[in-house]
């Protein structure tokens, strides 16, 4: 049964993905640019196309707390937020992962205040890398829809039982309309069975949840949680393969290399930026430059092996961060370097920070990044952390 073609925005694709995943309860608080997700879901609940309860919570902190309550009785919870909202529910993020509640949440990547900015960058989700949530970054609306469905399969896997954050670039993806194939409900139902778990309150077998664990066993419990996230890679790859077999779309699991096999330099990027980078790679390849793109899909668990296998061989690796961890460098750069440091011979690496607060990342920006990388590979020394696309001098 082929899917039904639609022309929708990233937000709408997420709402459709959520509807297909049959959540029991949606608890969400509106925030730009996520609002269309919750508006569509409200329509679906009202028109009966989604048999779910919609909780009008009074804040994002309560959105996550309610979602945890839902999961604690074994029901499937869905929520969505962005930037300030994500930060407001930070306590709940750590809480849910520690309680092993497989909640799925869409996060519209958006700059964090102050100063106020409603446009896209990844400061919000990247500042939450340590909160114990699986994090995937999608490139287009189709991948957004598909990953909401895959997210439940992975998160609810008894070996994983870890909450899952699906990240979409604010506006550039959430509010951009494109062709999306919506898979049929029956196929999705076969792919994504109802949520079954022992990690819940049960009238027949009363449990205590979110208990206190002191120095006697806390270290071991957190090791258990860490290993579940590390081993989630198996489920991620398996679900990606099965999804491809069933729905015809393979995404490559943890990462997706594009023309990296014979590349001299590689640029690592996430989300919609990877899309633009693909176009620049093709163009520069025609001009005879051996450049490649490493699309990082998952940032937690982090694809250490894949980054080493694909990017370890080249002379120079660039990492594009729509983020800056003040006082050091881009957060993705820190993670990629940590992975590459496992290699006996670490390639030269450069960090390209830009696209903050909705600043467009143009093809020219990426082309000049590749040119810089090629020069660095040729021995021209370069500053390790470079802000690109600045519209005023930095008078350093």
């Amino acid at each position: 049964m082929p899917g039904q073609k639609t022309f929708v925005s990233g937000d709408e694709a997420v709402a459709m993905g959520a509807r297909l995943a049959r959540p029991h309860v949606i608890s969400a608080y509106p925030i730009t640019p996520q609002t269309v997700v919750v508006e569509r879901l409200s329509d679906y609940v009202e028109d009966g196309s989604l048999n779910a309860e919609f909780m009008h919570v009074e804040s994002e902190h309560s959105a996550m707390s309610a979602a945890m309550g839902v999961s604690s009785v074994g029901a499937r919870a869905f929520t969505a937020t962005s930037s300030q909202g994500l930060l407001h529910m930070c306590e709940g993020l750590h809480y849910a992962s520690g309680a092993r509640f497989p909640i799925v949440m869409m996060n519209a990547n958006r700059a964090t205040a102050a100063p106020w900015n409603i446009y896209g960058d990844q400061r919000d989700s990247l500042s939450m890398l340590d909160c114990g949530w699986i994090q995937v970054y999608v490139e287009d609306a189709q991948e957004a829809l598909d990953m909401i469905i895959q997210a439940y399969r992975i998160a609810e896997d008894p070996e994983v039982l870890t909450p899952f954050m699906v990240n979409l670039d604010g506006f550039v993806l959430t509010h951009t309309y494109e062709l999306v194939e919506v898979p049929p409900q029956e196929t999705v139902d076969a792919f994504l069975p109802p949520y079954q778990t022992v990690n819940k309150m049960d009238l027949a077998n009363p449990q205590s949840l979110c208990i206190t664990v002191g120095p006697n066993l806390n270290l071991e419990i957190k090791y258990q949680q860490h290993m579940a996230m590390v081993n989630a890679e198996k489920a991620i790859d398996a679900v990606d393969r099965e999804f491809g077999d069933v729905f015809g779309r393979y995404y490559g699991g943890m990462v997706q290399g594009y023309r990296c096999e014979d590349a001299e330099v590689i640029l690592a990027a996430t989300g919609t930026t990877a899309g633009t980078a693909r176009v620049v790679v093709d163009a520069m390849r025609e001009q005879g430059h051996a450049v490649g793109l490493l699309k990082l899909r998952y940032l937690r668990p982090f694809p250490i092996r894949q980054v080493c296998d694909i990017a370890g061989r080249v002379k120079a690796v660039g990492v594009l961060d729509r983020d800056i961890s003040f006082g050091l460098e881009g957060t993705i750069y820190t993670n990629v370097n940590s992975a590459l440091s496992r290699l006996a011979q670490k390639p030269l690496t450069l960090n390209f920070v830009g696209g903050l607060g909705g600043r467009d990342i143009s093809r020219e920006n990426i082309e000049s990044i590749f040119t810089t990388l090629l020069a660095a590979a040729g021995g021209v020394s370069q500053p390790e952390v470079q802000f690109f696309g600045m519209e005023c001098a930095t008078d350093e």
Binding site: H24, S62, S65, A66, M68, G74, E91, M201, S208, V213
Partner: protein, 301 residues
Amino acid sequence: MNKTQAKSINARTIDDREFFYGHKACAGCGGSVAVRLALKVLGENTFSVLPANCMSAVGFIYPQMAFSSNAMIAPFPSTAAMLSGVAVGARALGIKGAYSIGFAGDGGTADIGLQALSGAIDRRDPIIYICYDNEAYMNTGIQKSGLTPYGATTTTTPAGKNLPGSVRPKKNMFEIVAAHGIDYAATCSIGYPQDYMKKIQKAAQVEGTAYIHVYASCPTGWGVPTERSVDVAKEAVDCGLWFLAEYENGRFRLNKNPREFKPVKDYLKKQGRFRHLSDRDIETIVQQRDAKWEKMRREWL
């Protein structure tokens, strides 16, 4: 949510099982009386949610689990939000005949948890929210909360040369909740356990959201000997500094309207937290009490 049989609830008809047992609360803890009795009234089919407070801190210390019916700790601001999620999740799963009940303290209700409680009432989620009020943040060592009464010394409102302890009156939680147009709200005291049990049962039969505000003494925080714990909660009502009332169908009702009160001074002087009060402070407290009762009698009778 089906209704418990409407048999009148008392010491003989109450469930003889203990659902909150072997906990690590201080000897004489009033809060544990409130939790224990409520769970016995409601029976085994419950989902309890407690935020960070004494009762959760003493009830879930791995491997000693004192709750033998389903129970869960919520983030501090989230009692009513998480509890709503439980109730709505259970409804979505078609789980019948189970009560979703929250136990938060005074600060957990009137301060950090107020927003979530307001949201739950607004949504009319099918929950029973119990605030056990020991008039300060006791779990963290007796700091002032929004329900700390005027004149009480706490570690953050120390009575000294310049201040008589807390200088603000208790927030009026009962009427704040009622102002939401909640289906049922009541005030109780562990000193009047029969009245408390009856109101818990009534809350369980409510179609919609119910709120119970129960006065629950804290020997440690109030500076009373452990054996007097329940009696001091009773005396609070008898001297008029607390009251037993209900809000239902949009109307208030006073359950107990004593002709004359026991002396406030006796009630206060028994407690370490009030021992410093001057006669003038006590006079202020008596005036505040009389003003409150004058209003209640005028409007609620």
